[in-house]
Symmetry: none
Subunit: 401 residues, 2 copies
Amino acid sequence: MKPTLEIFSQGEEIVCGQVADTNAAWLSQQAMQLGFLVTRHTAVGDKLDDLVGLLKEIAGRADCCLCTGGLGPTTDDLTAEAVAQAFGLPLAFDEVAFAQIQDFFSRRQRVMPDSNRKQALLPRGALRLDNALGTAPGFAVQAGRCWFAFMPGVPSEMRHLFAERILPTLNTRFSLAADRLITLKTVGIGESAIQELLRPITLPEEVAIGYRASLGEVQIKLLFPHAYPEQRLNQLTDAVAAPLGDKVFAVDDSSTGQCSDLVGVIDGLMRQRQLSLAVLETVSRGCLGSLCLTADWLLSSAYYQGVALQDTVCDGSETAQSLAADLLASGADCALVQLFTDNREGFADRGQATGISIYLLTPDASHLAQHRLSGPAANKQQQAALLSLDVLRRYLQGRLH
Amino acid sequence: MKPTLEIFSQGEEIVCGQVADTNAAWLSQQAMQLGFLVTRHTAVGDKLDDLVGLLKEIAGRADCCLCTGGLGPTTDDLTAEAVAQAFGLPLAFDEVAFAQIQDFFSRRQRVMPDSNRKQALLPRGALRLDNALGTAPGFAVQAGRCWFAFMPGVPSEMRHLFAERILPTLNTRFSLAADRLITLKTVGIGESAIQELLRPITLPEEVAIGYRASLGEVQIKLLFPHAYPEQRLNQLTDAVAAPLGDKVFAVDDSSTGQCSDLVGVIDGLMRQRQLSLAVLETVSRGCLGSLCLTADWLLSSAYYQGVALQDTVCDGSETAQSLAADLLASGADCALVQLFTDNREGFADRGQATGISIYLLTPDASHLAQHRLSGPAANKQQQAALLSLDVLRRYLQGRLH
């Protein structure tokens, strides 16, 4: 059985929605990859009773808890006080912590405000976690079945403390065996269509399958237990990939840390083959160029309203061919041209679908793809950009047909 | 006493940290502005027992709970089932919901997969919340002291359902006395520079000030208690706005629901004055065009690597003037041209700053702005787009000098 782990965040700015809790997401990823079962995230504000109650709950429920926030010098920073009350560990002045806080200010040639003295008060018996980047030391306590580690809420300090002080301790305190996550990334097919295609495949009970859809991209996640036989893992991955065919643009493996995206895959192939591209973004209006921000192989990307309004409401193949030929004449190796095929007027209406043509012209191939875009204008825009890039990806991978 | 509200998110992708829970942040802001006391956020994955336990906890603790996720068609979407178990409300097939789901697919000329049938199963007695944007209807139930509203996790669908179906109900079910939030939106100035400018201003204790910085934009938030005297509110808002001068592009007021963004402000002014624009996006590479997605007044937006590489590493004013004149010759009323002034090579390096010129040419004015961009390439790109748009905004508001 994997040890369970919860994430606990303290801060009015999180509970009131001024910031999204990116610390919780980051810590969860770290914990998962280490081999914990992450079961819950909780965020509360600066009410002492809420904090005390929550800490007691977690102490009876989880094996480990990673906590952020509430370690600052101000009166609404209540974490140490809450730990003291929840677990009967009165606050004690930590001379070493205090010396570090004084040192932090003197190195910056600033006078330490009196309020920072409070940060040297730690629950009795807590393990101090030295913080080289800020004034607040972290600390850890065992309470009930749960080992709690408390870190500052400032992301850079939190990450530093986690990597330097907490990670080594987790590996010695817990018996951890990491699962292996294989992620198949697809573009140009919806989540339910994927599920239909995968319905005939029966996975062994110990292998979990999950889906994640974002604009234009659906991921299929296969979670294998620790030390799952390599050959069987590859067979199952291939079995899931097969019905999806050329919709799969990358297969990532958590054991290598590899994390691909569509632009990254294309970037590698364009560099390898030393090709360049010019794009007419009639539909995605800058979104494709914007996604390829640092790509040297993207020679130009343009949007003209004239094209969009007058010439393109048609099946587009002839117009597209001539526009693409112009782009090649300007010196690019490949050209991508987007045209509206129908209902350009409905583009901004989230209730209406709009038809587009995507035409790719290269030295040795040409391809016309047609799609219907739906949803709000920004979704249609992003779909158009990703579907266009995907035509290029399939060409580069030799999978256009 | 304000009614208490919790946010509950379901999804392995949140608990495992694949995505930060931006839905929770957005919903908290909405709830706060309505007059709720937001007390807790909780996220759990797709374990049925966890879900059931958590729903029961919240039913005994909060007056209202806004829930997202777990309404999809797949087997790991368990919210309706968990509600059924937690509150003894067996699932029942909802004919109207099913007709809506079928309609969703037929309007898109797609066949409904069998798995979507599950989305028409709602807990007995639940209020159905029709979802015009996706296949999953939301629903609401009263359980214990708490009114629960369940929404899809896809942010666009969630926001739509909240605005159209839940907000009106909250206002009738709860006695809400909203605080009043005034938001000053600025561009082209950093958070610490703003804090320095505002240091001399003393606000009354009952008025809270907060800051929120995102790429290129900093917001100053003034929270006034319910029914705060109008005249005093205006005086204090003006006192905060004055030192910020023309950096403030909009002042939003939660009591009117007004929420401005830079593109929206420009859009209104361009339409009013019937002006058109052409842009050379040498630096922002499609990002500006992409932000102005549905703007008819944006006649063209283009990026050419040739321009970026050869002609532009200079102070840029002569090159920019000539490029802008070309754009006006093509028929636009206004032209915006971005050029690199130095360290184009360092653009992709997050540790290096890059200099840019932004040149605006209009029938009655011209203006050259110079900036240094820093951070990762995507940040530099977005800064370039927003700073360019802001030159146009200041021209349109008569604030160029």
